[in-house]
Subunit: 335 residues, 2 copies
């Protein structure tokens, strides 16, 4: 199935580049309320499903035992900029479990945000695993393992109890089978599983509504999503799309990007979740797509709808600040 | 017309993202020798046509008057990393015309190469226009203007004599009409004109072969292309695709990337030029596309062909160095 062009990038009076993709929005029962493109295609959610991967941290009791609040839970669901607040909080999470940076198996990298990278270059010889955008998620894995008496060593492996538990939770939420056949390795070395886009959306709709979930999972899901919405800086950081989207409608939008053009989002008070992918993997397109899709559900709040559409459709300026073109969603997505 | 999928990005045993695009190779007469996708679509060449934009520098006699050799001419055709050698040479070019950084109208930005950016952050308070990837091209504009007694001020403007001369040269080379209707503003503030992809390739084939060109233009074209092939570091820099591609077959490949997924290339000893665009604007795909297209023309030199295909199809590794997937061209492009 051919996916439609959903985002155009213009220059002068011409379209310069075009992004295709697929979008689906479902309710807690999995009923499709909006769809474009091949929503049955299997997609690696990458970092967009970190809130699912954080369930063992809460469900095991580790989060309570270590006194974690909304900031720590948000960081466990985060792809953060490696700003000082993110790095310090990841270290404190590990310290709560009696561990330190040496327990992290995510690898190290400089920030992907230019301003943060410049600060890092001026203050660090090199980044550590605490600066990795996934350090909060990995600290959560270590904490969940330690609290349950499991050796965290090797926690990135497919067969480690933490990954097995995550796999079970994600199978239950999405209804999709997860196994070696649809498993890839993520940037931070943990397994990532390709699942149908519609199933991914349904998983987030279940988390956002609790529909069909055991009470403990429903509570843990709500706690994680509420934490992200309460502390959007800790889910991403300065200048970042997830943070900005959640700040547009505090407490009403959950949004999480994944690599290669994936975005998942939920609207808990509307009982809806969204999953989408830009087919070519472009973040700029996924960002516009999720904002425009979210906007469809805010007819009741014109100022939120307008802010979301302004996020979706925006001017591009060059090094001299001259308006050279625009990123804009196509008619299929214009709310 | 639907453009075909030309590059796939895999993870595990799945295709994660797909890039569509169009590719054309022509000879000096404009005869199409290889084509995929909509090669009549109008494309902004962006920085891929900098060698065309450097013609006035040579044709005016400015390059000779100021004693410019291959390095300076390569830098005039460059999108460079802003490494110290690039910055110093751009400053020397301006000094030859009695000017300095204040004459540049390209704006300033940090390097797009992470390692260079880290060095810049540690040694500079902020970048200047000399660090702009286009500073060599702009220094060339200033030199061409100064040598011909034209005030360089406003040289980025559509109506400035330098831009008018470039417009005429590009119309003559490509056979396409360039005017306000197909004009956009580039990242560095100069005009960029959308032209049919096939016409863009024909322009470079004329430059590489001299076919149909007046002797002065043919000489200037050869001199610029030879300069880029002789000094590939000054066309881009460390870790950069243009530099690597030209180093694979010294003196036999000219290659220049442009923003939004454009690549132009020429094979002077084969009398062929190539123009291509990844429809979604992705550089990673344009890079694979140009290497695989170049490889088609090296059946006579298996080691060059193999090096080009190794550039096109390559492994992706994560922060821990684990092989997580590949960038690869599809069957349509596999040479």
């Amino acid at each position: 199935m051919e996916n439609p062009v959903l985002v155009e990038v213009t220059r002068g009076n011409r379209v310069e580049s075009r992004h295709r993709g697929m979008v689906v929005a479902v309710d807690g029962d999995g009923k499709v309320v909006f769809a474009l493109g091949d929503i049955d295609a299997a997609v690696f959610p990458r970092s967009a499903c970190k809130a699912m991967q954080a369930l063992p941290l809460v469900e095991s009791g580790a989060a309570d035992a270590y006194g974690f609040g909304a900031k720590e839970l948000a960081l466990a669901c985060a792809s953060h900029n490696g700003e000082p607040e993110h790095v310090a909080l990841a270290a404190r999470m590990l310290a709560a479990a009696g561990r330190d940076v040496s327990a992290l198996e995510c690898g190290a990298h400089w920030s992907s945000d230019q301003a943060v990278l410049i600060d890092q270059a001026r203050t660090l010889e090199r980044p550590t695993a605490l600066h990795n955008n996934c350090s909060g998620k990995h600290a959560g894995f270590v904490c969940a393992a330690c609290h349950t008496g499991t050796d965290p060593k090797g926690y990135v492996g497919y067969d480690h109890p933490i990954q097995a538990e995550i796999r079970g939770a994600m199978e239950s939420l999405t209804g999709a089978a997860l196994a070696h056949d649809n498993c890839g390795t993520d940037g931070c070395s943990i397994p990532t599983y390709a699942v149908p886009l519609k199933a991914l959306a349904h998983g987030f709709a279940r988390m956002a509504t609790g529909t069909g979930l055991a009470p403990g999972r429903a509570r843990a899901s709500k706690r994680l999503i509420d934490a992200c919405m309460a502390e959007p800086f800790f889910v991403a950081g300065s200048r970042r799309s997830c943070t900005k989207l959640m700040q547009i409608a505090p407490g009403r939008i959950f949004a999480k990007i994944g690599a290669e053009g994936v975005f998942c989002a939920a609207l808990p008070d509307k009982g809806i979740a969204i999953a989408l992918k830009c087919a070519d993997g472009a973040s700029r397109a996924a960002d516009a797509m999720v904002a425009a899709t979210l906007a469809r559900f805010f007819d009741d709040t014109p100022e939120i709808k307008a802010s979301l559409m302004a996020h979706a459709n925006h001017a591009m300026r060059n090094w001299n600040g001259i308006h050279v073109g625009d990123v804009r969603v196509t008619g299929a997505l214009a709310a």
